[in-house]
Amino acid sequence: MIVSRDVWKSFDGGKTFAVKGVSLEVAKGETLVLLGSSGSGKTTTLKMINRLIEPTKGTIEIDGRNVMDMNPVELRRSIGYVFQGIGLFPHLTVAENVSIVLRLLGRPKREQQKRAEELLELVGLDPKEFADRYPDELSGGQQQRVGVARALAADPEYLLMDEPFGALDAVTRDILQQELLRLKEQLRKTIVFVTHDIFEALLLADRIAVMHDGRIEQIGTKEELIKQPATDFVRQLFEQPAKHLAIFSAVLHEGAQPSSS
């Protein structure tokens, strides 16, 4: 379980805050989506969990231990991290990328190889075809599959995902979202997922935390957010899918006639 209590973060010594008093809980096996536009503080909130960024104020606990009391290297190895930039190591093959953490842990070569093959299969890449390729020989979608496999190498209980599909085209993104749903069912990891895409949030989330200007506007299930929005911001946000749907059905039912606007 991840618990953060009244977490603040300033990057300029206290003049302005990127995160302002965020408190949230992520239950075991749950997927929490941090939803917000850019600058809302969602990525900062995420990165404070594995201490890529350290909080200015407040505490974050994982399974009851304050992350600031933990060794950052061990902390990060126990949490998978996937992000938009992917960051595959260009000088290593796909298999080497996937098993790099095991190599750092000093696991035997055979175990590294076996695990890499397992994980590649898990993320839908044929090891025979992909294991010995280099990252620049892969498409963007394939690269992010490798990124996910790499994050899972040490079998972490937690997975932090920072807009992992943000840079992919719509079709690829759709496929990978479905794959992630499958993985979620299969692996039962606790996932914190950052996105600005409301559809992605609705698709993947067990609960959603809507962030705006460094604060959490509302946190709850999809139904709660849609039916009982706590603020105007949340209401307007969740009116968007309905608007899009209206435009879509208008086009569908009235044939080629566009709606008057």
Partner: protein, 539 residues
């Protein structure tokens, strides 16, 4: 090991009216063993200094990435070092490291540092941020990130720096010959001293080829270490390159074999050294030809060493067996003793000290005394009846003297002259040693400080005044030889002493003049002299 003949001069392109390709090939084949040796020396100098520079530069590059306050200091220092002219650098290092390979390595390492430090820093500071974020997110320690991610990814840039450094080193290493560190620069130096373009090219062309080779080889290494799969072109290029290298190596070995077989199997070898000016080259030839004519020994000519200290060290270390030295120079420059006026006394002292300290023997002097001397125009001397320096005293205040700046400062120069003779000249101007003879002949000055055996003294109709107060230290030249060699080949003493007292000041002036002004080779001039004296008659 190498018994090559010293016949640069048999191939003087301008005199023989053009050289054929065949001459060139002969010339190169003849020098192949020496070329090989110099090439290896050159490779060692370059290789070791580059390894040093990598060993220092790489950690420094990493350090300044972490500690920004050091960055400016380190990079400016490395930049500043790079702007020091190579010769100035070698001169600067001389007092700390002496001569030879050590200071050369220090200088080369310093020059190689900048590109390596700069590229290490540049390579490490320009890595893609997502890759670093991934490493952090996956729980790499700082060291693991450096070793597994940053350095491998920066390797092509770092290697480009090493490549630049190595190519610079190949070039600068040619200058190491000035301080006796060997390498291909030896040919270039020798060629420049003798105005022999063929010898210069024998050093310069292999040095240039070596630079290209190093550049290409390290370029290939760069391609190989670039992250990701190697393009086919790189593999093909590597294969071709490796193939060519093997072919060249085999060719070189074979040619070397041929050259070796062409040599006469040596019985005993005497290695003769000289300093790097005309008179020494002539004396070296005289000694060499005498030995060749009167003994069965092979002579190896290691001429044109960079100066007194280098010759002396080569002798003491046993790199050469003998070389011509001057008594006064040995007394002051080697033994660091005060100057003396009495020639026999000086000879006796250096003889005794050399036996004791260096196990070397001074044979009989050739006769001439290449000391400082006061020279005037012959017609002035005749007109005013000047014969000795004291004769100038009454008119000295009206005379204009042209002295080298060294002579003006040295205690055994002008200051001492004034003290001993009790007069100074009305006006003294600084002159370049190369120009003062002409300046005197033209009447720009009335008196100069000459070197007694300079060929321009008779050429410009000048006259040396007698040093009647015995002020100038004697600089009598004589062969200095290692005792061990004398014991092994006792006949050498008698043979070399054939020249004892055989060369007067005037004779040496004439011989120098033949080489300096008439552009004849030291070898030819020496042979002519020996023939004249009847010293070349076969045993």
């Amino acid at each position: 090991m190498t018994y090559h003949r010293w016949d640069e001069f048999t191939f003087e392109p301008n005199k023989s009216g053009g050289v054929t390709m065949g001459d060139w090939v002969d010339f190169v084949i003849q020098r192949l063993p020496e070329l090989q040796q110099k090439l290896i020396e050159h490779l060692i100098l370059t290789g070791i200094s580059t390894v040093f520079a990598v060993a220092i530069g790489l950690p420094v590059g990493v350090l300044i990435l972490r500690w920004s306050f050091l960055r400016t200091i380190v990079l400016s220092f490395a930049n500043a070092v790079q702007t020091i002219p190579s010769l100035a650098m070698l001169a600067f290092l001389l007092p700390f490291f002496g001569i030879g390979v050590k200071p050369a390595l220090v200088a080369l390492t310093l020059y190689a540092l900048l590109p390596i430090v700069r590229n290490t820093y540049a390579g490490l500071s320009n890595l893609p941020p997502p890759v670093l974020e991934a490493a952090d997110g996956l729980g790499f320690t700082r060291l693991q990130r450096l070793l597994y991610v940053e350095i491998p990814l920066a390797t092509p840039v770092i290697l480009a720096g090493i490549r630049t450094a190595a190519v610079i080193s190949v070039g600068i290493a040619t200058l190491s010959a000035f301080i006796g560190a060997g390498g291909l620069g030896d040919f270039i130096n020798r060629g420049l001293a003798l105005n022999n373009s063929r010898l210069v090219l024998l050093g310069a062309i292999p040095a240039a080829l070596l630079a290209l080779f190093v550049d290409f080889a390290l370029g290939l290494a760069e391609d190989w270490l670039r992250p990701g799969r190697k393009p086919k072109a790189v593999r093909v290029r590597t294969l071709i390159f490796a193939g060519l290298t093997v072919v060249v190596l085999i060719g070189a070995l074979w040619a070397n074999q041929v050259a070796r077989q062409a040599k006469v199997g040596g019985v005993g070898v005497v290695r003769i050294g000289t300093k790097n000016f005309t008179e020494q080259l002539i004396l070296g030839e005289l000694l060499a030809q005498l030995i060749e004519a009167h003994t069965t020994l092979q002579v190896e000519r290691k001429f044109n060493l960079g100066g007194t200290v280098i010759c002396h060290q080569a002798l003491v270390r046993g790199d050469i067996d003998l070389y011509p030295e001057y008594t006064g120079t040995a007394l002051t420059a080697i033994l660091k003793l005060p100057t003396l006026g009495e020639p026999d006394e000086v000879l006796a002292i250096v003889r005794r000290e050399y036996r004791l300290r260096f196990q070397c023997e001074w044979l009989e002097p050739f006769g001439f005394n290449n000391t400082y001397a006061i020279a005037v125009r012959r017609k002035d001397a005749e007109k005013f009846g000047w014969q000795k320096i004291s004769d100038l005293k009454p008119v000295a205040s009206k005379l204009k003297a042209g002295f080298t700046s060294e002579f003006r400062e040295r205690p055994d120069g002008y200051p001492g002259l004034k003290r001993v003779y009790g007069f100074g000249f009305g006006q003294v101007v600084d002159m370049d040693p190369a120009l003062m003879y002409q300046a005197l002949a033209r009447g720009n000055v009335d008196v100069i400080c000459a070197f007694a055996t300079d060929g321009r003294i008779p050429a410009y109709d000048l006259l040396i005044l007698e040093d009647d107060r015995k002020f100038f230290s004697p600089y009598h030249a004589a062969p200095v030889i290692r005792m061990e060699v004398l014991q092994n080949f006792p006949e050498l003493r008698q043979v070399l002493n054939l020249l004892a007292g055989a060369i007067s000041d005037e004779t040496m002036q004439r011989l120098n003049y033949e080489v300096d002004e008439n552009k004849r080779s030291p070898k030819e001039v020496a042979r002519e002299f020996l023939a004249e004296k009847g010293l070349l008659i076969a045993r």
